[in-house]
Protein backbone atom coordinates (compact mmCIF):
# COMPACT_ATOMS: atom_id res chain seq x y z
CA UNK A 1 0.00 0.00 0.00
CA UNK A 2 1.23 3.49 -0.82
CA UNK A 3 1.38 6.24 1.77
CA UNK A 4 -2.07 6.50 3.32
CA UNK A 5 -4.23 9.61 3.06
CA UNK A 6 -5.80 8.87 6.42
CA UNK A 7 -4.04 6.99 9.22
CA UNK A 8 -5.89 6.25 12.43
CA UNK A 9 -3.81 4.72 15.24
CA UNK A 10 -5.03 3.42 18.58
CA UNK A 11 -8.06 5.70 18.46
CA UNK A 12 -10.37 5.70 21.47
CA UNK A 13 -13.57 7.58 22.14
CA UNK A 14 -16.06 7.56 24.96
CA UNK A 15 -19.44 8.93 25.91
CA UNK A 16 -18.97 9.87 29.54
CA UNK A 17 -17.48 6.72 31.09
CA UNK A 18 -18.84 4.42 28.41
CA UNK A 19 -16.08 3.42 26.00
CA UNK A 20 -17.52 3.37 22.48
CA UNK A 21 -14.29 2.94 20.58
CA UNK A 22 -11.23 1.05 21.72
CA UNK A 23 -7.79 1.17 20.15
CA UNK A 24 -9.05 1.43 16.57
CA UNK A 25 -6.34 1.37 13.92
CA UNK A 26 -6.99 1.72 10.22
CA UNK A 27 -5.72 3.43 7.09
CA UNK A 28 -7.26 4.71 3.88
CA UNK A 29 -5.14 5.36 0.79
CA UNK A 30 -6.01 7.97 -1.83
CA UNK A 31 -8.59 6.67 -4.30
CA UNK A 32 -9.62 3.77 -2.09
CA UNK A 33 -13.12 2.84 -1.04
CA UNK A 34 -12.87 1.36 2.44
CA UNK A 35 -15.90 -0.09 4.21
CA UNK A 36 -16.46 -0.34 7.95
CA UNK A 37 -18.93 -3.06 8.83
CA UNK A 38 -20.24 -4.26 12.15
CA UNK A 39 -23.42 -4.61 14.14
CA UNK A 40 -25.34 -2.03 16.09
CA UNK A 41 -23.24 -0.33 18.74
CA UNK A 42 -19.96 -1.61 17.30
CA UNK A 43 -18.60 1.94 17.21
CA UNK A 44 -18.78 2.57 13.47
CA UNK A 45 -20.54 5.91 13.71
CA UNK A 46 -18.40 6.95 16.66
CA UNK A 47 -15.28 6.19 14.64
CA UNK A 48 -16.49 8.35 11.74
CA UNK A 49 -17.49 11.17 14.06
CA UNK A 50 -14.12 11.09 15.77
CA UNK A 51 -12.38 11.27 12.40
CA UNK A 52 -14.53 14.24 11.32
CA UNK A 53 -13.96 15.83 14.73
CA UNK A 54 -17.60 16.10 15.79
CA UNK A 55 -16.66 13.89 18.76
CA UNK A 56 -13.39 14.30 20.65
CA UNK A 57 -10.88 11.46 20.72
CA UNK A 58 -9.98 10.15 24.18
CA UNK A 59 -6.88 8.29 23.02
CA UNK A 60 -4.76 7.65 19.95
CA UNK A 61 -4.10 9.78 16.91
CA UNK A 62 -5.56 10.70 13.53
CA UNK A 63 -3.20 11.73 10.75
CA UNK A 64 -4.33 13.19 7.45
CA UNK A 65 -1.61 13.39 4.77
CA UNK A 66 0.90 12.77 7.53
CA UNK A 67 -0.34 15.73 9.55
CA UNK A 68 -1.67 15.14 13.06
CA UNK A 69 -5.27 16.40 13.18
CA UNK A 70 -6.39 14.66 16.37
CA UNK A 71 -7.13 17.95 18.13
CA UNK A 72 -8.21 20.01 15.13
CA UNK A 73 -11.69 21.65 15.19
CA UNK A 74 -14.27 20.01 12.88
CA UNK A 75 -14.63 23.10 10.70
CA UNK A 76 -10.85 23.12 10.09
CA UNK A 77 -10.93 19.45 9.08
CA UNK A 78 -13.64 20.25 6.52
CA UNK A 79 -11.23 22.89 5.23
CA UNK A 80 -8.57 20.18 4.80
CA UNK A 81 -11.05 18.08 2.82
CA UNK A 82 -12.43 15.65 5.40
CA UNK A 83 -16.18 15.73 4.90
CA UNK A 84 -18.69 13.59 6.75
CA UNK A 85 -22.19 12.86 5.50
CA UNK A 86 -23.88 12.16 8.82
CA UNK A 87 -26.26 9.26 9.29
CA UNK A 88 -30.01 9.57 9.30
CA UNK A 89 -30.28 11.96 6.34
CA UNK A 90 -29.33 15.03 8.34
CA UNK A 91 -30.48 17.66 5.90
CA UNK A 92 -31.38 21.18 6.96
CA UNK A 93 -35.12 20.54 6.75
CA UNK A 94 -36.49 24.11 6.73
CA UNK A 95 -33.93 25.33 4.16
CA UNK A 96 -34.39 24.89 0.41
CA UNK A 97 -32.56 22.14 -1.45
CA UNK A 98 -30.32 24.72 -3.07
CA UNK A 99 -29.50 26.43 0.24
CA UNK A 100 -28.60 23.00 1.63
CA UNK A 101 -26.17 22.52 -1.24
CA UNK A 102 -24.78 26.04 -0.79
CA UNK A 103 -24.10 25.25 2.85
CA UNK A 104 -22.10 22.26 1.71
CA UNK A 105 -19.76 24.69 -0.05
CA UNK A 106 -19.63 26.88 3.06
CA UNK A 107 -16.06 25.95 3.90
CA UNK A 108 -14.97 26.69 0.33
CA UNK A 109 -16.46 30.17 0.10
CA UNK A 110 -19.50 30.84 -2.05
CA UNK A 111 -17.74 31.81 -5.31
CA UNK A 112 -17.25 28.26 -6.43
CA UNK A 113 -20.74 27.10 -5.60
CA UNK A 114 -22.30 27.78 -9.06
CA UNK A 115 -20.05 25.21 -10.68
CA UNK A 116 -20.54 22.83 -7.75
CA UNK A 117 -24.32 23.20 -7.94
CA UNK A 118 -24.29 22.23 -11.61
CA UNK A 119 -22.19 19.16 -10.77
CA UNK A 120 -24.54 18.17 -7.93
CA UNK A 121 -27.61 18.45 -10.18
CA UNK A 122 -25.90 16.41 -12.91
CA UNK A 123 -25.27 13.66 -10.41
CA UNK A 124 -28.75 13.75 -8.84
CA UNK A 125 -31.15 15.24 -11.44
CA UNK A 126 -34.13 14.76 -9.12
CA UNK A 127 -32.70 17.48 -6.88
CA UNK A 128 -32.72 20.08 -9.67
CA UNK A 129 -36.51 19.87 -10.00
CA UNK A 130 -36.90 20.39 -6.27
CA UNK A 131 -34.24 23.05 -5.80
CA UNK A 132 -36.62 25.65 -4.31
CA UNK A 133 -38.52 23.27 -2.03
CA UNK A 134 -37.66 22.83 1.64
CA UNK A 135 -35.34 19.85 2.09
CA UNK A 136 -37.73 18.41 4.68
CA UNK A 137 -40.36 17.89 1.97
CA UNK A 138 -38.17 15.47 -0.01
CA UNK A 139 -38.60 11.69 0.13
CA UNK A 140 -36.16 9.70 2.25
CA UNK A 141 -34.10 8.65 -0.77
CA UNK A 142 -33.91 12.18 -2.10
CA UNK A 143 -32.88 13.48 1.33
CA UNK A 144 -30.03 10.96 1.36
CA UNK A 145 -29.00 12.06 -2.14
CA UNK A 146 -29.12 15.66 -0.96
CA UNK A 147 -26.99 14.83 2.08
CA UNK A 148 -24.37 13.18 -0.17
CA UNK A 149 -24.55 16.00 -2.73
CA UNK A 150 -24.12 18.53 0.07
CA UNK A 151 -21.04 16.67 1.26
CA UNK A 152 -19.61 16.70 -2.28
CA UNK A 153 -20.11 20.49 -2.50
CA UNK A 154 -17.22 20.81 -0.04
CA UNK A 155 -14.97 19.13 -2.63
CA UNK A 156 -13.86 16.46 -0.18
CA UNK A 157 -10.52 14.69 -0.45
CA UNK A 158 -11.89 12.09 1.95
CA UNK A 159 -15.62 11.45 2.06
CA UNK A 160 -17.00 9.82 5.21
CA UNK A 161 -20.38 8.22 4.46
CA UNK A 162 -22.37 7.13 7.49
CA UNK A 163 -25.08 4.53 6.81
CA UNK A 164 -26.22 5.99 3.48
CA UNK A 165 -28.70 3.14 2.91
CA UNK A 166 -30.32 3.31 6.35
CA UNK A 167 -34.11 3.16 6.21
CA UNK A 168 -34.35 3.24 2.41
CA UNK A 169 -36.38 1.02 0.06
CA UNK A 170 -34.36 -1.65 -1.83
CA UNK A 171 -34.64 0.19 -5.14
CA UNK A 172 -33.25 3.36 -3.59
CA UNK A 173 -30.50 1.43 -1.82
CA UNK A 174 -29.36 0.17 -5.23
CA UNK A 175 -29.42 3.73 -6.57
CA UNK A 176 -27.38 5.06 -3.65
CA UNK A 177 -24.79 2.29 -3.98
CA UNK A 178 -24.58 2.95 -7.74
CA UNK A 179 -23.89 6.61 -6.97
CA UNK A 180 -21.16 5.61 -4.49
CA UNK A 181 -19.58 3.29 -7.08
CA UNK A 182 -19.68 6.19 -9.60
CA UNK A 183 -17.89 8.41 -7.11
CA UNK A 184 -15.21 5.78 -6.61
CA UNK A 185 -14.70 5.43 -10.38
CA UNK A 186 -14.32 9.22 -10.57
CA UNK A 187 -11.37 8.85 -8.16
CA UNK A 188 -12.97 9.77 -4.84
CA UNK A 189 -11.56 8.45 -1.57
CA UNK A 190 -14.37 7.10 0.59
CA UNK A 191 -14.69 5.62 4.04
CA UNK A 192 -18.10 3.96 4.11
CA UNK A 193 -19.94 2.82 7.21
CA UNK A 194 -22.73 0.36 6.48
CA UNK A 195 -24.99 -2.12 8.19
CA UNK A 196 -25.81 -3.47 4.76
CA UNK A 197 -22.56 -5.49 4.73
CA UNK A 198 -23.38 -7.48 1.55
CA UNK A 199 -23.59 -4.38 -0.63
CA UNK A 200 -20.76 -2.58 1.12
CA UNK A 201 -18.28 -5.46 0.76
CA UNK A 202 -19.24 -5.82 -2.92
CA UNK A 203 -18.10 -2.32 -3.86
CA UNK A 204 -15.31 -1.85 -1.28
CA UNK A 205 -11.60 -2.30 -2.07
CA UNK A 206 -10.92 -3.15 1.53
CA UNK A 207 -12.96 -3.42 4.69
CA UNK A 208 -12.62 -3.47 8.45
CA UNK A 209 -14.95 -5.34 10.78
CA UNK A 210 -15.72 -3.58 14.06
CA UNK A 211 -17.04 -5.36 17.14
CA UNK A 212 -17.73 -3.66 20.49
CA UNK A 213 -15.44 -0.77 19.67
CA UNK A 214 -12.51 -2.82 18.36
CA UNK A 215 -11.26 -3.65 14.87
CA UNK A 216 -11.43 -7.47 14.80
CA UNK A 217 -10.84 -8.24 11.13
CA UNK A 218 -9.52 -6.54 8.04
CA UNK A 219 -9.01 -7.51 4.44
CA UNK A 220 -10.14 -6.95 0.90
CA UNK A 221 -13.88 -6.64 0.35
CA UNK A 222 -14.00 -9.94 -1.55
CA UNK A 223 -11.97 -11.85 1.08
CA UNK A 224 -14.12 -10.65 3.95
CA UNK A 225 -17.28 -11.51 2.04
CA UNK A 226 -16.00 -15.13 2.01
CA UNK A 227 -14.92 -15.13 5.66
CA UNK A 228 -17.00 -17.61 7.67
CA UNK A 229 -17.23 -15.38 10.71
CA UNK A 230 -18.36 -12.37 8.69
CA UNK A 231 -20.81 -14.48 6.73
CA UNK A 232 -22.39 -15.81 9.87
CA UNK A 233 -22.52 -12.54 11.75
CA UNK A 234 -23.32 -9.94 9.12
CA UNK A 235 -24.30 -11.51 5.84
CA UNK A 236 -27.00 -13.75 7.24
CA UNK A 237 -25.51 -16.91 5.72
Amino acid sequence: MTAALLEVAGLGAQYGRVVALHDATLAVAAGELVALVGGNGAGKTTLLRTISGVRPASAGSIRFEGRDITRLAPARRVGLGIVQVPEGRQVFAPLSVEDNLRLGAYARGRERSAEGLARAYRMFPALRQKRDLPAGSLSGGQQQMLAIARGLMAEPRLLLLDEPSMGLAPLLIAEIFAAIADLKRAGATILLVEQNATQALKIADRAYVLETGRVVLEGSGATLAQNERVKAAYLGM
Binding site: P74, P86, P94, L95, Y106, R108, G151
Partner: protein, 312 residues
Protein backbone atom coordinates in the same frame (compact mmCIF):
# COMPACT_ATOMS: atom_id res chain seq x y z
CA UNK B 1 -34.54 33.12 -3.94
CA UNK B 2 -35.87 35.94 -6.14
CA UNK B 3 -39.28 35.69 -4.55
CA UNK B 4 -37.72 35.98 -1.13
CA UNK B 5 -35.65 39.01 -2.11
CA UNK B 6 -38.80 40.77 -3.35
CA UNK B 7 -40.61 39.91 -0.14
CA UNK B 8 -37.71 41.38 1.82
CA UNK B 9 -37.72 44.64 -0.18
CA UNK B 10 -41.51 44.81 0.00
CA UNK B 11 -41.39 44.23 3.74
CA UNK B 12 -38.80 46.94 4.32
CA UNK B 13 -40.83 49.31 2.12
CA UNK B 14 -44.01 48.52 4.04
CA UNK B 15 -42.20 49.01 7.36
CA UNK B 16 -40.91 52.40 6.18
CA UNK B 17 -44.42 53.39 5.02
CA UNK B 18 -46.02 52.38 8.33
CA UNK B 19 -43.33 54.21 10.31
CA UNK B 20 -43.83 57.35 8.17
CA UNK B 21 -47.64 57.38 8.32
CA UNK B 22 -48.03 56.37 11.95
CA UNK B 23 -47.28 59.76 13.61
CA UNK B 24 -49.92 61.42 11.39
CA UNK B 25 -52.74 59.02 12.27
CA UNK B 26 -52.04 58.76 16.01
CA UNK B 27 -54.46 61.13 17.77
CA UNK B 28 -52.12 62.50 20.46
CA UNK B 29 -48.71 62.33 22.05
CA UNK B 30 -49.81 59.59 24.45
CA UNK B 31 -50.10 57.21 21.50
CA UNK B 32 -46.80 58.49 20.17
CA UNK B 33 -45.28 57.58 23.52
CA UNK B 34 -46.65 54.03 23.17
CA UNK B 35 -45.28 53.86 19.62
CA UNK B 36 -41.80 54.88 20.84
CA UNK B 37 -41.82 52.23 23.58
CA UNK B 38 -43.03 49.67 21.02
CA UNK B 39 -40.22 50.71 18.68
CA UNK B 40 -37.58 50.29 21.39
CA UNK B 41 -38.96 46.86 22.28
CA UNK B 42 -39.00 46.01 18.58
CA UNK B 43 -35.28 46.79 18.27
CA UNK B 44 -34.50 44.45 21.18
CA UNK B 45 -36.84 41.80 19.70
CA UNK B 46 -35.23 41.94 16.26
CA UNK B 47 -31.94 41.12 17.97
CA UNK B 48 -33.48 38.41 20.12
CA UNK B 49 -35.12 36.90 17.03
CA UNK B 50 -31.66 36.47 15.46
CA UNK B 51 -30.81 34.27 18.42
CA UNK B 52 -34.14 32.47 18.99
CA UNK B 53 -35.72 32.49 15.56
CA UNK B 54 -32.80 32.10 13.18
CA UNK B 55 -30.21 30.27 15.30
CA UNK B 56 -32.69 28.34 17.45
CA UNK B 57 -31.05 29.20 20.79
CA UNK B 58 -33.20 30.33 23.70
CA UNK B 59 -32.38 33.20 26.05
CA UNK B 60 -34.50 33.79 29.13
CA UNK B 61 -32.16 36.48 30.39
CA UNK B 62 -32.08 38.94 27.56
CA UNK B 63 -33.46 41.83 29.59
CA UNK B 64 -30.07 41.75 31.35
CA UNK B 65 -28.42 43.23 28.26
CA UNK B 66 -31.25 45.76 27.95
CA UNK B 67 -30.78 46.66 31.63
CA UNK B 68 -27.00 46.92 31.39
CA UNK B 69 -27.38 49.18 28.35
CA UNK B 70 -29.80 51.37 30.28
CA UNK B 71 -27.72 51.52 33.47
CA UNK B 72 -24.35 52.08 31.78
CA UNK B 73 -25.89 55.00 29.89
CA UNK B 74 -27.49 56.29 33.09
CA UNK B 75 -24.42 55.95 35.30
CA UNK B 76 -21.92 57.36 32.81
CA UNK B 77 -24.07 60.36 31.85
CA UNK B 78 -25.52 61.17 35.27
CA UNK B 79 -22.56 60.25 37.46
CA UNK B 80 -19.55 60.83 35.22
CA UNK B 81 -20.92 63.54 32.91
CA UNK B 82 -20.16 61.56 29.74
CA UNK B 83 -21.85 62.64 26.51
CA UNK B 84 -24.86 60.29 26.01
CA UNK B 85 -23.66 59.00 22.63
CA UNK B 86 -20.29 58.03 24.10
CA UNK B 87 -22.04 56.36 27.05
CA UNK B 88 -24.28 54.46 24.62
CA UNK B 89 -21.22 53.22 22.74
CA UNK B 90 -19.52 52.25 26.01
CA UNK B 91 -22.64 50.25 26.92
CA UNK B 92 -22.46 48.46 23.55
CA UNK B 93 -18.80 47.59 24.14
CA UNK B 94 -19.44 46.36 27.68
CA UNK B 95 -22.49 44.31 26.66
CA UNK B 96 -20.64 42.90 23.68
CA UNK B 97 -17.71 41.87 25.89
CA UNK B 98 -20.02 40.32 28.50
CA UNK B 99 -22.01 38.41 25.86
CA UNK B 100 -18.78 37.20 24.25
CA UNK B 101 -17.36 36.06 27.59
CA UNK B 102 -20.43 34.04 28.60
CA UNK B 103 -21.40 32.82 25.10
CA UNK B 104 -18.99 29.87 24.77
CA UNK B 105 -19.70 28.21 28.12
CA UNK B 106 -23.44 28.96 28.03
CA UNK B 107 -24.17 28.07 24.41
CA UNK B 108 -22.64 24.61 24.79
CA UNK B 109 -25.89 23.84 26.58
CA UNK B 110 -29.09 23.06 24.73
CA UNK B 111 -32.81 23.22 25.30
CA UNK B 112 -33.93 23.47 28.91
CA UNK B 113 -30.36 23.70 30.17
CA UNK B 114 -29.62 26.70 27.98
CA UNK B 115 -32.87 28.28 29.20
CA UNK B 116 -31.76 27.74 32.82
CA UNK B 117 -28.27 29.17 32.22
CA UNK B 118 -29.54 32.31 30.49
CA UNK B 119 -32.19 32.66 33.18
CA UNK B 120 -29.38 32.59 35.76
CA UNK B 121 -27.45 35.26 33.87
CA UNK B 122 -30.52 37.50 33.86
CA UNK B 123 -31.14 37.00 37.56
CA UNK B 124 -27.52 37.74 38.48
CA UNK B 125 -27.53 40.99 36.53
CA UNK B 126 -30.89 42.05 38.02
CA UNK B 127 -29.61 41.36 41.54
CA UNK B 128 -26.38 43.27 40.98
CA UNK B 129 -28.32 46.26 39.65
CA UNK B 130 -30.64 46.18 42.66
CA UNK B 131 -27.87 45.74 45.24
CA UNK B 132 -25.25 48.22 44.05
CA UNK B 133 -27.21 51.06 45.65
CA UNK B 134 -24.31 53.52 45.57
CA UNK B 135 -23.96 53.15 41.79
CA UNK B 136 -27.48 52.33 40.61
CA UNK B 137 -29.76 53.73 43.29
CA UNK B 138 -30.87 50.21 44.14
CA UNK B 139 -34.47 49.01 43.77
CA UNK B 140 -35.70 52.64 43.72
CA UNK B 141 -33.99 53.22 40.40
CA UNK B 142 -32.13 56.29 39.19
CA UNK B 143 -32.83 59.35 37.04
CA UNK B 144 -31.20 59.62 33.61
CA UNK B 145 -30.25 62.91 31.88
CA UNK B 146 -31.82 63.59 28.46
CA UNK B 147 -30.25 62.35 25.23
CA UNK B 148 -27.95 64.82 23.43
CA UNK B 149 -26.84 64.24 19.84
CA UNK B 150 -24.13 66.67 18.63
CA UNK B 151 -25.44 69.40 20.92
CA UNK B 152 -29.10 68.74 19.95
CA UNK B 153 -31.53 67.20 22.36
CA UNK B 154 -34.78 65.70 21.01
CA UNK B 155 -37.32 68.29 22.24
CA UNK B 156 -40.40 66.09 22.40
CA UNK B 157 -42.20 62.91 21.49
CA UNK B 158 -42.17 63.65 17.75
CA UNK B 159 -38.37 63.99 17.61
CA UNK B 160 -37.93 60.86 19.71
CA UNK B 161 -40.30 59.01 17.42
CA UNK B 162 -38.17 60.01 14.44
CA UNK B 163 -34.96 58.72 16.07
CA UNK B 164 -36.51 55.41 17.12
CA UNK B 165 -38.22 54.91 13.74
CA UNK B 166 -34.96 55.41 11.82
CA UNK B 167 -33.00 53.11 14.14
CA UNK B 168 -35.76 50.48 14.02
CA UNK B 169 -35.73 50.49 10.23
CA UNK B 170 -31.92 50.15 10.17
CA UNK B 171 -32.12 47.34 12.73
CA UNK B 172 -34.63 45.46 10.55
CA UNK B 173 -32.57 46.05 7.41
CA UNK B 174 -29.41 44.70 9.08
CA UNK B 175 -31.24 41.66 10.42
CA UNK B 176 -32.77 40.79 7.04
CA UNK B 177 -29.43 41.14 5.28
CA UNK B 178 -27.71 39.02 7.89
CA UNK B 179 -30.40 36.34 7.54
CA UNK B 180 -29.73 35.87 3.83
CA UNK B 181 -25.94 36.10 4.04
CA UNK B 182 -23.70 33.03 4.39
CA UNK B 183 -23.75 33.69 8.14
CA UNK B 184 -27.57 33.56 8.10
CA UNK B 185 -27.47 30.25 6.23
CA UNK B 186 -24.95 28.92 8.74
CA UNK B 187 -27.25 29.94 11.62
CA UNK B 188 -30.24 28.26 9.97
CA UNK B 189 -28.07 25.18 9.44
CA UNK B 190 -26.97 24.86 13.05
CA UNK B 191 -30.59 25.48 14.05
CA UNK B 192 -31.72 22.53 11.92
CA UNK B 193 -28.90 20.14 12.87
CA UNK B 194 -25.70 20.97 14.73
CA UNK B 195 -23.95 17.78 13.63
CA UNK B 196 -24.77 18.30 9.98
CA UNK B 197 -23.75 21.96 10.25
CA UNK B 198 -20.40 20.98 11.79
CA UNK B 199 -19.76 18.40 9.06
CA UNK B 200 -20.55 21.06 6.44
CA UNK B 201 -17.70 23.12 7.87
CA UNK B 202 -19.75 25.57 9.93
CA UNK B 203 -17.89 26.55 13.10
CA UNK B 204 -20.90 26.00 15.36
CA UNK B 205 -19.44 27.52 18.55
CA UNK B 206 -18.19 30.62 16.76
CA UNK B 207 -21.50 31.30 15.03
CA UNK B 208 -23.45 30.81 18.25
CA UNK B 209 -21.15 33.31 20.01
CA UNK B 210 -21.49 35.75 17.13
CA UNK B 211 -25.29 35.72 17.13
CA UNK B 212 -25.40 35.93 20.93
CA UNK B 213 -23.18 39.01 20.90
CA UNK B 214 -25.22 40.59 18.09
CA UNK B 215 -28.50 40.05 19.90
CA UNK B 216 -26.97 41.52 23.08
CA UNK B 217 -25.93 44.62 21.10
CA UNK B 218 -29.48 45.13 19.81
CA UNK B 219 -30.81 44.87 23.39
CA UNK B 220 -28.09 47.22 24.67
CA UNK B 221 -28.98 49.90 22.09
CA UNK B 222 -32.67 49.63 22.96
CA UNK B 223 -31.84 49.81 26.69
CA UNK B 224 -29.63 52.92 26.40
CA UNK B 225 -32.25 54.74 24.34
CA UNK B 226 -35.02 53.68 26.71
CA UNK B 227 -33.09 55.10 29.69
CA UNK B 228 -32.70 58.51 28.07
CA UNK B 229 -36.27 58.55 26.74
CA UNK B 230 -37.95 57.53 29.98
CA UNK B 231 -35.58 59.66 32.07
CA UNK B 232 -35.77 57.14 34.89
CA UNK B 233 -34.92 53.46 35.20
CA UNK B 234 -35.38 50.70 37.76
CA UNK B 235 -33.81 47.21 37.99
CA UNK B 236 -37.20 45.75 36.98
CA UNK B 237 -36.34 46.59 33.36
CA UNK B 238 -33.51 44.01 33.60
CA UNK B 239 -35.63 41.45 35.44
CA UNK B 240 -37.07 38.06 34.65
CA UNK B 241 -40.54 39.29 33.69
CA UNK B 242 -38.99 41.67 31.18
CA UNK B 243 -36.96 38.82 29.65
CA UNK B 244 -40.06 36.66 29.35
CA UNK B 245 -41.92 39.53 27.74
CA UNK B 246 -39.23 39.91 25.07
CA UNK B 247 -39.35 36.18 24.31
CA UNK B 248 -43.16 36.31 24.16
CA UNK B 249 -43.02 39.18 21.66
CA UNK B 250 -40.70 37.21 19.39
CA UNK B 251 -42.76 34.01 19.60
CA UNK B 252 -46.08 35.83 19.17
CA UNK B 253 -44.87 37.73 16.11
CA UNK B 254 -43.37 34.62 14.58
CA UNK B 255 -40.03 32.88 14.93
CA UNK B 256 -37.36 33.50 12.31
CA UNK B 257 -39.30 36.51 11.02
CA UNK B 258 -37.77 39.96 11.44
CA UNK B 259 -41.10 41.66 10.76
CA UNK B 260 -42.73 39.20 13.12
CA UNK B 261 -40.49 40.49 15.91
CA UNK B 262 -41.58 44.05 15.11
CA UNK B 263 -45.28 43.14 15.00
CA UNK B 264 -45.02 41.09 18.21
CA UNK B 265 -43.32 43.97 20.03
CA UNK B 266 -45.89 46.47 18.74
CA UNK B 267 -48.87 44.34 19.79
CA UNK B 268 -47.58 43.38 23.22
CA UNK B 269 -46.58 46.98 23.97
CA UNK B 270 -49.86 48.47 22.75
CA UNK B 271 -52.38 45.88 24.03
CA UNK B 272 -51.89 46.52 27.78
CA UNK B 273 -52.37 50.24 27.12
CA UNK B 274 -55.58 49.61 25.18
CA UNK B 275 -56.88 47.18 27.80
CA UNK B 276 -56.08 49.56 30.63
CA UNK B 277 -59.75 50.59 30.43
CA UNK B 278 -60.74 47.06 31.51
CA UNK B 279 -58.90 47.62 34.81
CA UNK B 280 -58.58 44.35 36.70
CA UNK B 281 -59.57 42.26 33.65
CA UNK B 282 -56.65 43.57 31.63
CA UNK B 283 -54.31 40.67 32.40
CA UNK B 284 -57.01 38.07 31.75
CA UNK B 285 -57.89 39.57 28.37
CA UNK B 286 -54.21 39.77 27.40
CA UNK B 287 -53.61 36.16 28.41
CA UNK B 288 -56.67 34.97 26.48
CA UNK B 289 -55.50 36.76 23.33
CA UNK B 290 -52.03 35.22 23.61
CA UNK B 291 -53.49 31.74 24.07
CA UNK B 292 -55.86 32.25 21.13
CA UNK B 293 -53.05 33.36 18.82
CA UNK B 294 -50.78 30.47 19.77
CA UNK B 295 -53.62 27.93 19.34
CA UNK B 296 -54.88 29.20 16.00
CA UNK B 297 -51.66 30.66 14.57
CA UNK B 298 -49.00 28.41 16.10
CA UNK B 299 -46.22 29.64 13.84
CA UNK B 300 -46.72 33.17 15.12
CA UNK B 301 -48.63 36.06 13.57
CA UNK B 302 -46.53 37.11 10.60
CA UNK B 303 -45.49 33.69 9.20
CA UNK B 304 -49.02 32.28 9.68
CA UNK B 305 -50.71 35.25 8.01
CA UNK B 306 -48.14 35.33 5.21
CA UNK B 307 -48.93 31.66 4.58
CA UNK B 308 -52.68 32.32 4.52
CA UNK B 309 -52.18 35.20 2.09
CA UNK B 310 -49.93 33.05 -0.10
CA UNK B 311 -52.52 30.29 -0.34
CA UNK B 312 -55.13 32.53 -1.95
Amino acid sequence: MIRRREARRGGLGALAAVLLVLPFVLPNTYYLNVAILAGLNAIACIGLNLLIGYAGQISLGHAAFFGIGAYVSAILTAGQGWPPVLALLAALVLNGALAFAVARPILRLRGHYLAMATLGLGIIVAIVLAQEVRLTGGPDGMPVPPLVLLGWSPPGEAAWYGIVAVLLWIAAWLSLNLARSPIGRALAALNASEIAAATAGVDVARHKSLVFVLSALYASLAGSLFAHYAGFITPAKAGFLQSVELVTMVVLGGMASTFGAVVGAAILTALPQIFATFHEYETIALGAILMGIMIFLPRGLVPSLARLAGRR
